[in-house]
Amino acid sequence: MLDKVAVSVRDLRMTYTSTKPVHALKGVSIDIREGEMLLIMGPSGSGKSTLLSIIGGLLTPTAGSVAVLGSEITRLRRKELARFRLRNFGYVFQGFNLFNAMTGAENVELAYNVRGIRGRRARKASRDLLAQLGLEEHANRPARDLSGGEKQRVAIARALAGDPCAILADEPTSQLDTENGAIVTNILSDLARKRGTTIVITSHDDRIRRGAEHVVQLDDGRL
C-alpha cells in the first residue's frame, strides 16, 4: 500500500451565513492517504456532509486549506474547480441522485459523455463497469425502477466512469437495508484495495465500520 498523502486538510473552518451564522466546522485537520478508505463518523449535524463537500470541491470553506494531490483546491476558480472535479473525483450520494428517466447504462454513459467519451465507446465502457458491479441484467432498465441497492451500485459505476483518484460518498448506505448496505460497503473497500482508489465515506451507522481501515469521529465540527 502506498503511503502518499492524497488529500491534506488543514485547519478547515466553515460558517454558514445564509441565516444566522452556523459554525459547522471549527478547525479540522486530517491527512488522507492514497488508496485508503477513510470513514468519517459522527452524529447528525456534526458537520460530516460539510467536511466531505469541501474535500470534494463542492463547497468553498470559510477558512483553511485542502490540498488534493498537492494542489490547493480552495483557491481554484469555479471553472478550474469543475474541471478538477471532473478529472479527479467521483461522488456517491445518500439519495443516489440518478437521472430517473434514463436507464442505468445511460446514467453511466452520461458520465463518460461529459468527459468527451461518446457513442459506442461510452456504451461499451459503461456496460463493462455495470457488469463488474453485477448489474448486467439491470443495465437497460430505467433508473427509477431499480431497487435501492441497484441504484447505489449504478451510482458507484457512474462515479467510477472518470477513473477518479478519489470517491467521496456521503452516507451511501443510509437508505439501504443491511444486506445492500454491506454489498455497497464491500464494493467501495474493494475499490480501495484493488484499484488503489482513495475512498472517503461519511456515516452515522456503526455497521459500516468493519470495511474501513481508518475511522475518525466528528463531533460538533471538531475531530
Binding site: S49, T50, S53, G56, L58, L59, T60, R78, K79, A82, R83, F84, R85, L86, R87, F89, Y91, F93, G95, N97, F99, A111, V114, R158
Partner: protein, 372 residues
Amino acid sequence: MALCGIVFAVTLLTVQVALFSGFSNSTTLPIAESSADVWVCAPEMLYFEGTLPIAYGTVAKIRAIPGVARAEALSLGIARWRSPHDELALGRVIGFDPRGTLFNPGNSNRATVDLLRKPYAFAVDATQLHILDLRAGQSGVIGTLPAHLAYVTRGTQPIVSATFFYTSLETANAYTPSALSFFSPPGSAPPPLEDTDPIMYVLVKAKNPAASAQLAAAIQRSIPHVRALTRAQMLAATRDYWVKRTGIGFILSLIALMGAFVGIVIVGQILYTSINEHFQEYGTLKAIGVNDAYLYGVIALQATCMAVIGYVLSLALTFSIRGIAAERGVDILITPGGALLVLAAALVICIGAGMVAMQRVVRSDPALVFRA
C-alpha cells in the same frame, strides 16, 4: 403545465403583434384595394379620410396629361343611416365609378359591381350588417334618400373607420347632405356630377406604372392646388397617420410590449420553477464537474423545445381566435414577418429566461445546490 403557460404567453404576444399588423393593414384597406398608381387630392390631405374636396373637373384635366392611362374620381362623404327598424348609424359614403377599373371594394366581379349603377344602391362590408341593422335585400335611408343594399363585400372595412357605404359617384353626391340633394324629388335618379361638384380623390392609372413618381410630379406641375402621391406614398401617409399620429398605434404597440413583458415574466417563472424541480439533477451534473456551458446548453435546449412547441400551439390558437375576431370586423393579421418576429421573441424570451433562471445553479457551490 409549463407548456400551458408558455402557450398562453406566446399566444398573448402573437395576438398582439397580429392585432397590430391587422390594425396597421386595416387602416389602408381602401388604398390597397385600388389599382391606381397615383392618387391626386387636396394639398391638405393628411390621411385617406382626412382630406378636403377638389373639383370633379380635375378628372378631365388629368386625363389630358400625357402618361395617364386612366383617371377616375373617388368621393367621400358623411352618411346618416336609418335602418328598416329606424336604428341610426353614422357612416361614410364612398362614391366611385362602377364602370371604372381603378376602385373595386372586395374585388367583386363585373356583374356584381354593375349592381351599383342602379340609383341609390350600395355595397357594404359583411361585418357592418349588424351595425346597420340590415339583412341582404333590405333597404334603409341615407339622409332623406332611399338606400338599397346591392351586395356585400368582405375584408374591406377598416376597424378604425365608420361604416363605408360604397355607391356610384352620382348616388354618393346625392347622399352628401347638401342643399341640392335635400330638394331632389323622391324617386328620381341622382343627376350626373358637374365639374364643380366635390370629390376627394382622382385615381390615376399610369401608362408606365414603373414611372408613377414622375407621373405624380407631372400632374402636380400641370394642375394647380393639388397634391399627387404615388400609391406607396398614399399608403405610408395613411398608415403613419394612424400608427404614429393617433394614440391607437401607440396603445397597440404598448399593449404588444406589455404582452412581451408578461410573457417574459411568465416564461421566466415557469423555467425557474422547472429548474427548481430538477435542482437535484442540475446539482448532480454540476457536482460531476460539467462546465457552465454544458448547464446553459441543457437549459437552452429545453427552452428552445418549449419555445418552438409553445409557438406552434399558439399560432394554431391565434388562427382560431382569428375566426372569431373576423366576425366582428377585427382583423388579426398574421404576416410572415410578424410570425417570424414572434418566433424570434419566443426563443429570446425562453432562452433568456432559462439562462437567468440557471444563474442560481451556475453561481452557487454544488453542495448548496443540493441543500436548496
